[in-house]
Amino acid sequence: MISDDWAVRVNSLGIKFFLRGKDGGGLRKEEFWALREVNFEVKKGEVFGIIGSNGSGKSTLLKIIAGIYPATEGRAEVRGKIAPFIELGAAFNPELTGAENIYLAGSIYRVPKRTIREKFDQIVEFSGLRKFIHTPVKNYSSGMFIRLAFSIIIFFEPDVVLIDEIFAVGDRVFQEKSMEKILSFREKGASMLIVSHDMGLIKQLCNRVAVLSRGRLAFLGRPEEAINFYLDLIKKGEGLENLGTQTFSPEQLVLNDARRWGNRQVEITRVEFVDEAGRPREVFRTGDYFEARISYINHGVDDCPVFGVAIYTIYRLLLYGPNTLENLGTQTFSSAASYSGQRDKESGKKSFFGPRSEQDKLFTEEPAPCESWGEREKDSKEIQGEFHGAARADGRPREPGFMADREGVEGIDFHRQMKLPRRGKVRFIIDSLPLLEGDYLFSASVYDSSLTIAYDHHEMMYFFRVKSPGISAFGAVRLESRWLISAD
């Protein structure tokens, strides 16, 4: 394949680090190949995603392409001007004013002074920092800092953009503005390399996606396939042995991922956002039915694990973090969580997840201890509370939460008794999503009943978006409220 329209070309790239001996700083240094035999080409105008768990070499790869790290073997070539979004604001001198820093950063990116002068006003305008442009940036808030840094890079029209997890910063309006601007690069023929844990973003933006696993290029192809490959990789921790020379156990691989921890006795294998009809969705509208489906495998835990979720704004502000300990079977939050199972057809054993069509047949059952789940429940029937998908009996509005198993179950007692099926799904449902327009991060976790042992915790690994057409309110959440205007 000889083509000449590449913008970035990576050729049997490898980089070796030396790790200090772990036991007491011995002199023997251990070799560690952070990347090896990585090959790919990014075409002009292409958006190329790089995914993989933490420690898989994504950021290192970007740093080699940016010229910060030297390749130990092979090479990475770049055609044209690079815009490294790797570390925003790295080019700034905190003592200098915003205006001075625009010139400094411009010179670091080799933008001719004349161009900077021409673009100066646009940069200042875009950053929205006109009032503070003659203030030293050390007095800026981190948000202002990032906005200025971003604005500068955006205006020098690069040929190759390197992006490493930057979309969790800045306010929403600015983020969207920036996103538009970045996408406009693509139209101008600029190429982009995006490293992200945000699968939604990757799927939305990328033409092709590479999956890195322990320094090896494990997969390269269409975004959906790559994401599935990556999720499988995490899920199984299998098939990894063939991919690298390092001998990491899957546990270590997981430890490497700072956003996931736990001993995996109960494992969260998949988190999916779906609509009322069970169709996977990433974008919801305010007021929509929202459901997060957490698939799990129980590797033999006897007590009743506690599932939890959390919704954050992109500033990592926790909006809501409920768990099944409080909610399951109690009416405190009028919320509902369901452990659901289905019959495992091969083994003939029951597990607790039914196909969506069955799930829609909602019904309320008598309270039952959880041991019964695997034994007494009817085939393929979902067990869920009165609050799921239907109005409450007392006619009060439904509120968000986990689906309760059934009405009237004494929550904690119930919970203690419950035994988790081997495989299944937990569904977190908000009947009417009160979130306003914006991007939200989502955590899912499963702990032991005393909440001290993490079985599997996925910290902000998921992402969904909310649109609010026709709502003029500001903020993240819609609170029940009303206006009264009267004349005296």
Binding site: F17, A66, G67, I68, Y69, P70, I82, P84, I86, E87, A90, A91, N93, E95, L96, Y103, L104, G106, S107, I108, R110, P112, K113
Partner: protein
């Protein structure tokens, strides 16, 4: 090699910016600002000149100018090299995050230092006029002599800065060595002051040649003779090329030693 210089050239705006930041920020909040860069050495000069001409009584004609010229040469090399030693480590934040040709940092620091020192040399020139010395044609060599100082210290800076990346003690060691060398170099005294049998030692002190070379146009009022200018040219070339070699060999890996 050629591409290195091209690359450096393409970063010239950055070089100018870094130099001006270096000059601007140093005295941003002080009242006298830039003047300190001159007041400091002048005060030092005054002190030394009083101590050694009035108290210890060296018998050197126009001692103040003799001392000033020696001190200017010495400070040019010593101060700038010591400051430039930290140039890579002090910019680690930048180096770890953005690609910039690393040569730019020592060059920027050193150049900023030299701008200060050139001003000092200009003052020296007026001093010598004031003290009744009338400079002659040898003065045309002054810029070249300063240039030699520049490249000599650039070579040293490149070596020191590379070493400093790996071992952070280098800066202190360098400072101590320079302190000792200050007294081992005829700056405050003259060569005659040394016992005859030790004088040969001086020929192994590179700073001797530089100090003397600067004295020629402003103090001896003559062109530096070959036994001074020869070693100066040779030392400059060796220092610069060796420094560049060391630096370029190591610069790719600096990033692994920075945190």
């Amino acid at each position: 090699m050629r591409s290195t210089w091209w690359e450096l050239l393409s970063y010239r705006d950055l070089l100018f910016n870094l130099i001006s930041i270096e000059l601007k920020l140093r005295y941003r909040h002080s009242v006298l600002g830039f003047l300190w860069q001159i007041i400091n050495p002048l005060f030092y000069l005054l002190l030394l000149s009083i101590v050694f001409s009035r108290v210890i009584r060296f018998n050197i004609e126009n001692y103040t100018i003799y001392l000033f010229a020696g001190l200017a040469s010495w400070l040019m090399i010593q101060q700038s090299s010591v400051v430039a030693t930290g140039s890579i480590v002090n910019n680690q934040g930048l180096i770890r995050k953005i690609y910039i040709p690393k040569l730019i940092f020592p060059v920027a620091v050193l150049t900023a230092q030299y701008i200060d020192h050139v001003i000092l040399v200009i003052i020296l020139f007026f001093f010598s006029l004031f003290f009744g010395l009338s400079p002659n044609g040898s003065l045309v060599l002054l810029p070249l002599i300063i240039l030699a100082h520049y490249f000599f210290s650039l070579g040293l800076s490149l070596i020191f800065a590379s070493a400093q990346v790996k071992v952070r003690d280098v800066q202190h060691i360098v400072a101590i060595i320079f302190q000792a060398l200050f007294y081992a170099t005829p700056i405050i005294y003259s060569l005659d002051f040394l016992p005859e049998k030790f004088r040969w030692l001086m020929y192994f002190n590179p700073f001797y040649y530089f100090v003397e070379s600067l004295r020629y146009p402003v103090y001896y009022l003559a062109f530096p003779p070959a036994h001074i200018s020869g070693p100066v040219i040779g030392l400059t070339a060796v220092s610069f090329l060796f420094g560049l070699f060391i630096f370029r060999r190591g610069e790719k890996y600096f990033v692994f030693h920075l945190s």
